[in-house]
Assembly symmetry: C2
Homo-oligomer: 219 residues x 2
DNA sequence: ACCTGTTTCAAACAGATGTTTCAGAGAAGT
DNA sequence: ACTTCTCTGAAACATCTGTTTGAAACAGGT
């Protein structure tokens, strides 16, 4: 938030912090303008109204969100690529603790309480990333039907995302020192091993073709 | 929201819906009072102000949240109990689509954006449930260290919770018809099998390369 | 110097929002 | 009937919120 930046980008910066912290409804344009060192009228002059500022702020996140690409070549095997995917995903998820990084917190809000702006987000950022994951899974289990692949992908994404969404409560449940010990390296290894073990060992029962009626599978 | 209910409980009911839908900041007391069929002054008369109404509403959720218990006896094996746990958890998670059921949506907001009210929630509802899961996992893999058990528990909880938190974006990514096909029965089976396969097959490497000590002894 | 289009600023505006006030209805006890 | 207490109702209040206005500052071109 340099002073010499044009007002427009200072506004987006300040708006990002404010929206990420308080959400759209609770954010105040006066506070945003104060943070940006601009006049109250600046928002309406540059963006029309509060809502359009919000949309442009969310959209701006995507532009900065695509920068990093998976640090793993396409030629590697599916296992390696899945590990890289999870590590990359987790790294961004856990970076949320950085108070400077309002982009992820804003993104999180968008994901849970979606507005019109999140359509763009899904199309440009999330769906491509999701499709890449689906490709890896398809390589690992080519015989799995589409629905099963979706569930597999969500199982992996869900494990990672939980450390973003569930962080406040998880920290209170197991204590903050216990939570701190779950660092990036350990979690990457854990979720990768957990998921790969499951993917490789799982039997995809079509539905009724199981002889044992459910719980008897204890061994 | 019966008309003959006392104003106080009608207010909490209406406030729950409103808060769950729009969040604390965006919720309007006039709207709440209108839904409750009460006067605008009712909120301040019965609860003091908007914030205390919010606290009492959240607290009220916990009272109603404990009602249901796991539908599975304690004498069953850990695998059966884990399946029951996941099924029970998922059932509540997926019930969020019920527009009548504002409690879970409100709870979700509390978990992500925790206020003072969520301390009570963690202590009375979440931690007991989490501990029950930890017991099951300890039975399945008694040799696992505490940190690993936490990660395992979060992997399971994360998979389930994703269908609550990530629902909006997941629906847009794979299409609503694809999402609909992931019903309670299928997801319970999937997450249970996925997690059990992982728990049984996973090798808990402390860090360095273990030759093959206790980990392989499951199968 | 003059015009022109752009940007900033202080002030004000209209509407919404949480809250308060106060008169009075209703019930219960004496 | 009288008091007392609890609760409701309509209106008003003070403040906050997003937005607009019109003048002024600024930069660039002619």
């Amino acid at each position: 938030m340099d002073v010499q930046d044009p007002t427009r980008v200072r506004l987006i910066q300040a708006a990002g912090e404010e929206f990420a912290e308080k959400g759209f409804a609770a954010a105040r344009v006066r506070e945003i303008c104060e943070r940006a060192g601009a006049n109250v009228a600046a928002v309406n002059y540059h963006f029309g109204d509060k809502e359009q500022l919000y949309v442009e702020t969310v959209v701006h996140v995507h532009g900065c969100g695509n920068e990093e690409e998976p640090p793993c070549g396409e030629d590697a095997g599916p296992e390696t690529r899945l590990r890289a995917f999870i590590g990359h995903f987790l790294a961004r998820v856990l970076a949320i603790q950085d108070p400077q990084d309002w982009r992820h917190r804003l993104m999180l809000r968008e994901l849970i309480l979606p507005t019109a702006a999140s359509d763009v987000l899904v199309r440009t950022v999330i769906r491509p990333k999701f499709n890449r994951l689906m490709e890896i899974l398809r390589e690992l289990r080519p015989e799995a039907e589409e629905r099963r692949l979706h569930a597999l992908a969500f199982s992996i994404v869900g494990q990672c995302m939980y450390y973003r969404m569930g962080r406040p409560v998880a920290e209170r449940v197991i204590g903050s020192e216990g939570f701190e010990s779950l660092d990036l390296e350990f979690l990457t290894e854990h979720i990768s091993s957990f998921s790969l073990a499951a993917i490789k060992a799982m039997e995809f029962a079509p539905a009724a073709a199981e002889p044992d009626p459910a719980a008897a599978g204890v061994k």
